[in-house]
C-alpha cells in the first residue's frame, strides 16, 4: 500500500495530521496556480485555505478512481471560480493590472513570462488546461475530468492554446531580435 493511499484512508477517518501530510506536496503548486487566477495574493491564499478546508470536509466522498491531485484541483478551480464570481472579474481583465499577484511573483526578465501572455490571449478554461498539462503534468483524461469536459474538447483546446502561445513566443522573440539588430 502506498503512503498516499494510507494517508487518504486515515484522512477519510478524520485525521487532520494525515490530511495535512497528504496535501503537503500539493500546497505550493496549488497556491502558484491560484495566484494566476485571482486579483490579489491575499485572495489566492484565501482560495487555497478554502480549498483545503473543503477537501478535508468532503474527504469522505473522495473516490479513489480519481487521482488525488485531480480531485484537489477540481475543488481549487471551483473555489477560484466562486471568488471570481463574487468579484465579477474575468481572467482576461486581470492582464490590464500592472501589479497583479502574478506580476508581483515573477522576477524581472528580458521577455514576458509565457503565463502572463497566456492569461492575456487564452480563455479561462484553456488557460487552466494548459497549466494542468504543462505544469502539473496531468494526462488529457485527468484534465478533462478536472474541467468536466470531453477528452476531445481538451485535446482540441490544448492544441489551440499551444498554437496561440507559440505565436506569442515567436512574436516576443522576433520583437527582441528586432530591438537587438535594429
Amino acid at each position: 500500500m502506498s503512503s498516499e493511499t494510507a494517508l487518504i484512508k486515515a484522512a477519510k477517518r478524520g485525521s487532520v495530521t494525515a490530511f495535512t501530510e497528504l496535501v503537503e506536496g500539493y500546497r505550493d503548486g496549488l497556491l502558484r496556480f491560484l495566484v494566476t487566477r485571482t486579483l490579489s495574493f491575499a485572495d489566492a491564499e484565501d482560495a487555497l485555505q478554502d480549498s483545503l478546508i473543503n477537501a478535508y470536509r468532503y474527504m469522505h466522498s473522495y473516490d479513489s478512481k480519481w487521482r488525488f491531485s485531480t480531485w484537489l484541483y477540481r475543488i481549487a478551480i471551483n473555489n477560484a471560480a466562486k471568488l471570481r464570481s463574487v468579484e465579477t472579474v474575468e481572467i482576461g481583465d486581470l492582464s490590464d493590472e500592472e501589479s497583479g499577484p502574478l506580476e508581483q511573483c515573477i522576477a524581472a526578465s528580458d521577455r514576458e513570462n509565457l503565463w502572463l501572455s497566456a492569461r492575456r490571449v487564452l480563455k479561462d478554461e484553456v488557460y487552466t488546461a494548459m497549466w494542468l498539462r504543462y505544469v502539473e503534468d496531468m494526462s488529457v483524461a485527468d484534465i478533462s475530468a478536472v474541467l468536466e469536459r470531453s477528452v476531445s474538447w481538451t485535446k482540441i483546446n490544448l492544441l489551440r492554446g499551444r498554437h496561440k502561445l507559440d505565436a506569442e513566443l515567436k512574436r516576443d522573440t522576433g520583437s527582441n531580435k528586432g530591438e537587438a539588430y535594429g
Binding site: G14, T20, L48, L102, S152
Partner: protein, 135 residues
C-alpha cells in the same frame, strides 16, 4: 528539438519563475481551520448519534407496548360471531379504447437531430484522427 517541445519546456520554466511560498501565518491559519472543521464534524456526528439513540429507544418502547397489547388481546379473545354481510357489487372500470398514433409533428425534428448527431460524430472522428497524428 521540436518547436512544440520547446514551448512545453518554456511553459514549465516560466511557471517555476512564479515565486510563491506558503507563509507560516497562512500555514497556521490552515491548520487552525482544519482543527475547527474537525471539531464541527465530530460535534455534528455526536449530535446525530444522540438523535439516533433517542429514536432507537422510542421505537423499542413502542414495539414493546404493541407486543404487550397483542398478547393481552390474544389471551382474552372471545369466540367470533359469524356475521354475513351482503355481497359487495363488483366495481366495473369503464373500458377505454386507446389508439396510439406516431408523433407526426416531432418526426422531422427527430430526423434533423439524428442528422446533426451524425455530422457531429463524423466531425469528431476527423478531429480525433488529426489530433492523433499531431499529439
Amino acid at each position: 528539438m521540436k518547436p512544440m517541445d520547446k514551448l512545453a519546456n518554456q511553459l514549465r520554466e516560466d511557471a517555476s519563475k512564479i515565486d510563491v511560498a506558503i507563509s507560516p501565518e497562512l500555514d497556521d491559519r490552515i491548520r487552525a481551520s482544519l482543527h475547527g472543521v474537525k471539531q464541527d464534524v465530530e460535534q455534528s456526528s455526536g449530535e446525530s448519534r444522540t438523535a439516533s439513540f433517542w429514536w432507537g429507544s422510542s421505537l423499542t418502547g413502542v414495539a414493546t407496548v404493541m407486543a404487550i397489547v397483542a398478547i393481552v388481546n390474544l389471551n382474552g379473545a372471545e369466540p367470533e360471531i359469524a356475521v354475513t354481510e351482503p355481497p359487495i357489487q363488483a366495481f366495473t372500470v369503464p373500458q377505454f379504447t386507446w389508439k396510439p398514433k406516431p408523433a407526426l409533428l416531432t418526426q422531422s425534428l427527430e430526423q434533423e437531430l439524428a442528422d446533426i448527431q451524425s455530422d457531429l460524430k463524423k466531425a469528431e472522428r476527423a478531429v480525433r484522427e488529426d489530433l492523433d497524428e499531431i499529439l
